[in-house]
């Protein structure tokens, strides 16, 4: 186990700079998820941690030791790849035992550790098989076995579940979490799936275009996003955004969208007339009397909840409610928003007000 410090890391490919001074502190035993859209630099950062990419500037330390110029094999890390990267010509036993073989451990020790890892991952009866004879989930577990058998200081996971079907992904998510609880090793995990990030992480690092947008616990990011990017990225379905300004409605102040829709405002320092983006999560929009009347565009029931898309002028609002709604598209419903659930962002900079 070890802490990891990423300090002002920069990555350049020739003249193009793709990472711009990224800094992240990872505590000993923490499960940190790097999340962001494709091309945000999360995998590059993980590969720099693994020693598979050079660091152009800044430092990366593992367990207090700067590892910028340290070879991957000397970093005491283990990595699980998106494609699993199992050695196709080796059996499951030899795949899991490969890192120990490279470390010149005795045959007896290799056998003991491989069997131990196989038991943890329920792979004992597959040890003589080749990777091509395994299912996706089993291959994934072999890749994890190869990682845990070394007892490394840090585990690195590069989108390990993206090749699995939805059901298996949920199962493997739980298995990885259980593994973390059992081993207590520091984990750095890359994904583009915010649900994976929210459900697994102790700490999430949201990245965009080679920069860190926000670092925090899953609920902290959900409740207090610093900008529209984080607000829109974290949470599923994603947050509603309506563009408009602060206006007065008699004695009180309200939000008025560009198409004239008036919505309740929370306590804010924003001045009257200021251009803002109004953000509210779909699950914070309720249906009720006295709410803002909007026209239903579509109703999507999933059984446990119903997602409703409604329109007022050019503004679209997405609501996620527990009730089963029989309203048809074209009819009107009242939508209630609690001002306490509203986030206001500066329209120009996108930063939270």
């Amino acid at each position: 186990m070890a802490n990891v410090t990423i300090d002002k890391v920069i990555k350049r490919y020739g003249a193009a700079q793709v990472m711009h001074g990224v800094s992240v502190d990872i505590e000993d035993g923490e499960f940190v998820v790097l999340v962001g859209p494709s091309g945000c630099g999360k995998s590059t950062l993980l590969r720099m941690l693994a020693g598979l990419e050079e660091i152009s500037d800044g430092t990366i330390s593992i367990g207090g030791r700067v590892v910028n110029d340290v070879l991957p094999k000397e970093r005491d890390i283990a990595m699980v790849f998106q494609s699993y990267a199992l050695y196709p010509h080796k059996t499951v036993y030899d795949n899991i035992g490969f890192p120990l073989l490279m470390a010149k451990r005795s045959k007896a020790e290799i056998a003991e550790k491989v069997k131990g890892a196989a038991e943890i991952l329920d792979l004992t009866k597959y040890l003589d098989r080749y990777p091509k004879e395994l299912s996706g989930g089993q291959r994934q577990r072999v890749a994890m076995g190869r990682a845990i058998v070394r007892d490394p200081q840090v585990f690195l996971f590069d989108e390990p579940l993206s090749n699995l079907d939805a059901k298996l992904r949920v199962t493997m998510r739980i298995e990885i979490k259980e593994l973390h609880q059992r081993l207590g090793t520091t984990i750095v995990y890359v994904t583009h799936d915010q649900v994976e990030a929210m459900t697994m992480a102790d700490k999430i690092v949201v990245m965009r275009d080679g920069r860190v947008e926000q670092i925090g616990s899953p609920l902290d990011l959900y409740d207090n996003p610093v900008n529209t990017f984080v607000a829109g990225f974290i949470g599923s379905p994603s947050m509603n955004f309506v563009h408009g300004k602060i206006a007065s409605d008699g004695s009180s102040r309200v939000f008025q969208s560009d198409s004239g829709l008036k919505l309740p405002l929370p306590q804010t320092t924003a001045a009257e007339g200021q251009a803002v983006t109004y953000g509210v999560r779909p699950e914070c929009v309720r249906i009720g009397e006295g709410g803002v009347e909007m026209e239903i565009v579509a109703v999507e029931p999933t059984g446990s909840e119903t997602q409703i898309f409604a329109r007022s002028g050019s503004d679209l609002i997405d609501a996620l409610v527990k009730e089963r709604i029989s309203a048809r598209p074209g009819s009107k419903l009242g939508f209630v928003i609690d001002p306490e659930d509203v986030h206001l962002f500066d329209r120009k900079t996108g930063q939270h007000i």
Partner: protein
């Protein structure tokens, strides 16, 4: 859509096989006939074979030394070309070098000209330049191995490149993270995975050298003469020993057939390797 009857396919491919294999059969027929019967009315079905040609060829010490030369030269050439070709492909596949695609293209250019073009310069190099005291590369086994390497190494690089490119780089990276050195990545991961391609390259370069006549006939006199050049010695002013020549040809053919048969599975796998995304 109706599937065509397998009988038609069977008949078609049997005919094609017959056409392809008939010259080999006929070569064998000639080799087991005495000289007097060679130009009589041909018999399709072999009766009363005559093994005198085989006894003559096998008993000829000179021909046995030619065969040994052929084995050593072909094998040496094939091993060197395959090993060096593999390392060249690994470098081309895994490392960023400026102009590497140009290097890859230009390596094959010497296969674009007829080998006869290189005869004079090679002869001069082997007699005038590559010499140590009185020792010359001309008419030596190592000389012939190197000559064949100049032609077969580019071919080996071209054959092996798709194979090495087809091994995902993530496997190298996984092995590096698992604690392997560069040498261990090559020997334990990439090399074993390239086996089908390596087998194809080994066999084809071996066969090219084994069958080659022009360079061997020009660049050897006595010590390093190969079996193919031995054939020409039976065309003399007093006549051509067809039966003996056919027997030598059978001897030339047998090792190639055995080697092909042994690695046939790998050859098919190697030729189609990387053709489709796995």
């Amino acid at each position: 859509m109706r599937k065509p009857s397998p009988i038609i396919g069977l008949i078609f491919w049997s005919l094609v096989s017959l056409l392809t294999l008939f010259p080999i059969y006929w070569l064998f027929v000639i080799s087991v006939k005495p000289a007097v019967q060679l130009f009589s009315t041909p018999e399709l079905i072999l009766s009363d074979p005559y093994w005198g040609n085989y006894a003559k060829v096998w008993g000829d010490r000179l021909l046995r030394s030619y065969m040994l030369n052929s084995v050593i030269i072909s094998t040496g050439n094939a091993v060197i070309c395959t090993v060096l070709g593999f390392f060249a492909c690994y470098a081309l596949s895994r490392f960023n070098m400026s102009g590497k695609e140009s290097i890859f293209f230009w390596t094959i250019t010497n296969r674009m000209a007829p080998p006869a073009v290189f005869l004079l310069p090679l002869f001069l190099l082997m007699t005038q330049v590559y010499t140590v005291g009185d020792w010359k590369l001309l008419d030596t086994r190592i000389g012939m191995i190197l000559v064949y390497c100049t032609f077969n190494l580019p071919f080996a690089i071209w054959t092996l490149r798709p194979t090495v490119d087809g091994i995902p780089k993530e496997l190298d990276e996984a092995a590096y993270v698992d604690g392997a050195s560069s040498w261990q990545v090559i020997t334990q991961i990439v090399f074993p995975l390239c086996r089908p391609g390596l087998a194809v390259t080994l066999i084809l370069t071996w066969v090219f050298a084994w069958n080659e006549y022009l360079l061997a006939a020009t660049l050897t006199n006595f010590n390093a003469r190969t079996l193919t050049t031995g054939l020409s010695e039976y065309v003399t002013t007093t006549g051509t020993a067809w039966g003996v020549m056919a027997t030598i040809s059978v001897f030339t053919l047998i090792p190639a057939l055995i080697v092909f048969g042994l690695v046939q599975k790998h050859i098919v796998a190697g030729l189609t390797f990387g053709a489709v995304k796995g």
